[in-house]
Structures are given as C-alpha cells and as structure tokens.
C-alpha cells in the first residue's frame, strides 16, 4: 500500500492578543491509500484545524504536507486550488455548510463547474449529478429543492455528494455526523464506509466520538492540545491504550453492562491554555502519574509496539 497523505512536523499557530495559540503543534501523520485515520480529542484540541491545515484551507505556520509525494507547502495559491479535485472535505454542520441560495442541483454541480468539468456538456453534468444523488441516497425528486426543505441527514448527504463530485481520492471528514441524530449517524457512517469500499477513498476522520471512530477507522490518532499523544492501529489502541490521556478517554465511554463497570476515574483539572504553552508534556497538569521530568522538554512519540506510538516516556511503567 502506498502512502497517500503525509505530514511532517505540521504546525498551525494563531496570533492572539495574549500570544501565539498553538492549535496544531508538530503533527506527523501518514495515511495509506484506502485507509481511514481517525483523529480524536476533546473540543479545542486542534483536530479541526489539523484537517483544514492538511487541505491548506488554513495556511500552516510550518511543516510539510505531501500528497502522493508532492509537497503542498511548495505550491502557490493556484496550484493548491487545482488540488481540490484530489482532496475534498465534508463539513460538520450540514445546516451552515450549504449555501441557502442554491438548489441541490446547483450545490452538487458547483465543485464541477468551478473546476471546469463537463464544460459545455450539460447532459453529462446532469447525468453525473443524477448518479451522485443516487449514490448517496437522495431521491431524484429533490433535485430542485433547497437545503432548508430537507432534514439534517439529507443535507449531509448533499455534503457527501458534493465532495464526491470531483472524484477525489482523499476526503477530510470534519465531524460529519456529530450534528446528526444517532439513527442518522449510522446511515451516514455506513454510506461513507460503502463509498470507501467501492471507490477506494482515503479518509481522515475527525471526531470526538470514540464509538464512531472505532466503527470507521483503521488507525487512530489521539490529540491533546495540538499534539499527538498516541497513535496506533484501532485494535491495538482499544485493547492496549498506553497514554494516560487515552486511558482516561476510553474509561469515559459509558459501559452498559453493570457487571463490567469498573471504578470511574474522572480526570481532574482543566485544559491548560494553548496560548504560549510551557515546554514538556501538555497533559502533565492533569496526569495522575505526573513526575518532575514530565515538565522538562523532550516528550516525544516513541514506538512501544509495532506502529503503536506513545508520547509518554513512562507508559511502560504506568501500564506495568
């Protein structure tokens, strides 16, 4: 399998009156073709910013992004724009991500029109849109409806159809189901997985919902305050979580079986400010196993098992 997307030391800082906000801080990731990388973390940990930075929707402050070996950071604005036929995004909120002035036909046609596809071939365009609507499960009679006439699930299907219209290989899914009802969530997730199977799509799936990420991902990356704290294949991460933060996250999943329920350990403290963060482990202030050396610089990802990376030097001791 070849690597489709790779980032090296990707950074995105925002300037604020109080200093630099480190939203994404030195992320290295690799996604193989046809695979799904799940990115999880709590609100404000920089996972959405990471997704936008990878697509260069927000210009990264530093680092490198490679798409099939091409360096995206070396491209100018025009070249980046041309990459949008290869990389697409599905947005979180299907209510605000669709232009209310456009009909479904226009919404799905828009990416193709922008990229001069089907130029002068109206029939081909109509056929393609019909196909796309069929693929994502939108009834043909809705072609000329407007987004406000539809429910959240159907709107999100438009979002999916629109992203697929330019036949991209890579799609960033930014919490595509978190604004939907649970029953609709399952439909959209199954749709995304079917599409991946049929078209060999590669996903970067951003979510805060661990059950969703468990359902869809091959590999999972856990983020905390702009840094990757743990990265591992799905099974490995769920069976052998090694970073104290990942452990806390997994423990927070409600367990319906009362006999299996262990003692609930709640994380103490608040997320510290991501503005000009102190060196050392960013989780140190909330970590139950914190040591003095955690506050010093040099907490890097280490491979503790094949393709299982943890940013905690004491993980083997903790898990004892």
């Amino acid at each position: 399998m070849s690597v489709l997307i790779e980032t090296q030391d990707l950074q995105k800082y925002f300037k604020t009156p109080r200093g630099w906000l480190h939203a994404v801080d030195g992320i290295n990731l690799k996604i193989d073709e046809g695979q799904t990388l799940g990115v999880v973390g709590e609100s404000g940990c920089g996972k959405s910013t990471l997704g936008r930075a990878v697509l260069r929707l927000q210009d990264p402050t530093g680092g490198k992004i490679f798409y099939e070996g091409q360096d995206l950071m070396a491209m100018n604005k025009k070249e980046v724009r041309s990459m949008c036929t290869k990389m697409q995004m599905i947005f979180q909120d299907p209510y605000s991500s669709l232009n209310p002035r456009m009909s479904i036909w226009q919404l799905i046609a828009e990416p193709m029109l922008i990229n001069h596809m089907y130029k002068g071939d109206k029939e081909g365009l109509n056929k393609k849109i019909e196909e796309l609507m069929d693929t994502v499960g939108l009834a043909k009679r809705l072609t000329h409806a407007y987004p406000h006439e539809l429910d959240g699930g159907r709107r999100q299907r438009i979002g999916v159809a629109r992203a697929l219209s330019v036949d991209p290989k890579f799609i960033v899914c930014d919490e595509p189901v978190s604004a939907l009802d649970v029953s609709i969530q399952a439909q959209i997730l199954n749709l995304l997985m079917d599409l991946q199977r049929d078209r060999g799509l590669t996903y970067m799936f951003i979510t805060h919902d661990l059950s969703v990420v468990k359902h869809i991902s091959n590999e999972i990356m856990v983020m905390y305050m702009g840094k990757c704290v743990e990265r591992a294949p799905k099974r490995e991460l769920f069976s052998n979580p090694s970073h104290p933060y990942t452990q806390a996250l997994l423990r927070a999943i409600p367990e319906p079986n009362i006999d299996k329920r262990g003692e609930l350990q709640v994380l103490k403290g608040e997320v510290t400010s991501p503005i000009n963060p102190k060196p050392g482990c960013r989780f140190a202030h909330r970590c139950p196993y914190v040591r003095e050396s955690c506050l010093a610089d040099g907490v890097e990802l280490q491979e503790i098992a094949p393709s299982h990376f943890v940013a905690c030097p004491y993980s083997s001791e903790i898990n004892g």
Partner: protein, 293 residues
C-alpha cells in the same frame, strides 16, 4: 408547489429569481404597494401631460383659497395657484429624490460595507470609525447642517441626503457580509477551489441582497420624508417650486380655514412613503428562502 417544481428546469440561477417573483406576486399588500408606487411614478413622468407646469406656478385671478371644485380639483392656495397641478408636479421631486438618493447611498454603502466586512482588519476599523463620527449626528440633522452651511442648491441637497443615509446603511451591509463571510459554506466554496470573485458573486451577494434591498426601500421612503422636512423648514427645494414639503409649509397658516391645503399634499406624501414601505416588506419576505408560502 408541485407544479412549480416540475416547471423549474435544471438551469439553476434563473429558477430562483422566478421563485422570488412568484412569491412577491402572491403577497397582496406588496402588490398593492407596488401598483400605487408605479402609478405615482407614472404621474411624475407624465405630469406635464396631466397638467402643464405653468398651471402649478401661474396665479389665477380672483381665485384665492378656493375650496375643491370641478374646476380646481384640489382647490387653490393663498397665492391663487391650482393645488392639483402643484401636488401632481410635486411628485417629481419626491420620486426623483427617493430613487436617486437611495440608489447612490446603496452603491456607496455596498462598496464601503463590503470592503469593511469582507476584508476586516484595519480597513474595517478605519471605515467604521469615520462613519461612527457621522453616526453621532442624526441623518436628517446632518443633512440640515450641510445644506445650511453650503446653501440649498439641488446638488448640495442630494449630497447632504446621501451622506445622511450612508452611515446606517454601511452598518447593515457590513454586518450582513460579516455574518455571511464567516459561514461554513464560504469555506466549502474555497475548499472546492472557488476564487474570490466567484465567492463574492455567487455566495456573498445573493445571501446579502435580502437585507440590503429591504434597507434601500426603507431608505427611499425615509428620503421622501426627509426632503419634505427640509423643504418644510425652508432649506430644501425653494419656493415657488411645488415640492410637497413646501406646500405643507405655506398651507400651515391656513390650516383652520382651508384644511385641504394641508391634507392633500400630506396625503400624497403618506401614500408615496407607505407604498414604498409595503414593497420593501414584500421584498423582504420574497427574498428570504426560509419563509415558506
């Protein structure tokens, strides 16, 4: 609804314009407003055909302060001029001012508000702070000061009214565009590779048009009142020109004995202003895709 959907073709843009027109047509008060305003416009255009301008200016011997009759429909004023001709010709000032001033104010405001809202940063700050200074003075008072300072010629009056209207309109345009440019669908368009020009033309302007057009119509009806107020105070259109505010000002003294001299031009003023407001309300409802019929 079903019939409409079958009718709409896959052409895109056009079908929505049709939809807006269809919804506007269904709104009875808006259609009445539009009809009344169009009639007033026609009266203004064909005022000379209805009655020559000389009738509005020339005095009629021995016919001072006459009550409405078959000869003089609206009676005559204190200088023995035919009120009907004066009211008819007065419509020209109101209609021209309403259209010209609100159109100019709209263009200036869309440019200033658009730049401030879309680009933000120091440009936004500069434009808005300067306008804040203008905002401190109420629009009509500002217009009054400008006319009083530079003299009440027609260009001065136009400029004064435009300046009086611009600050509030810029705020509305800026706020509208600010809200739209941070919407997710703008980011989605960027993600599809759309250029700035396309985003402005197909995303920002169509979504901003509703509030802006409604504001322009509200402005038009306010301008009619403003022109009349300035003329009433003697700073607008100068006598003997038959501007409605002028008619009211000179009729004021005879209000008890000859009330029609006040009522008739006053009524013309109210009907014109009201009809534009009704059109504005109808447009607002028709332009909002979320309001279903």
């Amino acid at each position: 609804m079903a019939k409409h959907k079958v009718k709409a073709t896959a052409g895109g843009g056009q079908s929505q314009t049709k939809e807006i027109i269809r919804r506007f047509k269904k709104n009875r008060s808006a259609m009445v407003g539009l009809a009344v305003f169009l009639i007033i416009c026609l009266i203004a255009i064909f005022a000379d055909v209805i009655t020559p301008y000389s009738n509005a200016i020339d005095q009629i011997k021995g016919a001072r302060l006459e009550a409405p009759s078959s000869e003089h429909w609206f009676g005559t004023d204190h200088l023995a001029r035919d009120m009907f001709a004066r009211v008819i010709h007065g419509s020209r000032y109101s209609v021209v001012f309403a259209l010209v001033v609100s159109a100019c104010a709209l263009v200036i405001s869309v440019v200033l508000g658009g730049v401030a809202g879309y680009y933000g940063g120091w440009v936004d700050n500069l434009i808005m702070r300067i306008l804040d200074i203008f905002m401190c003075i109420p629009g009509d008072l500002l217009a009054l000061c400008i006319v009083a300072a530079f003299g009440s010629s027609l260009p001065n009056l136009l400029v004064a009214l435009i300046i009086g209207r611009v600050p509030a309109t810029v705020r509305i345009v800026r706020a509208t565009i600010l809200g739209i440019s941070s919407a997710d669908y703008i980011e989605a368009a960027q993600c599809h590779g759309a250029k700035d020009a396309r985003i402005i033309a197909k995303y920002i302007i169509p979504n901003a048009m509703g509030p802006i057009i409604v504001d322009a119509t509200v402005n038009a009806s306010r301008i009619i009142i403003s022109v009349a107020s300035l003329s009433f105070l003697g700073l607008g259109i100068q006598a003997p020109a038959p501007e409605w505010g002028n008619l009211l000002a000179s009729a004021r003294e005879y209000m008890r004995t000859c009330p029609w001299l006040v009522y008739l031009p006053g009524l013309a003023l109210v009907i014109t202003s009201l009809s534009i407001n009704m059109v504005g309300d109808g447009l607002r409802d028709a332009l909002d895709p979320k309001i279903r019929d």
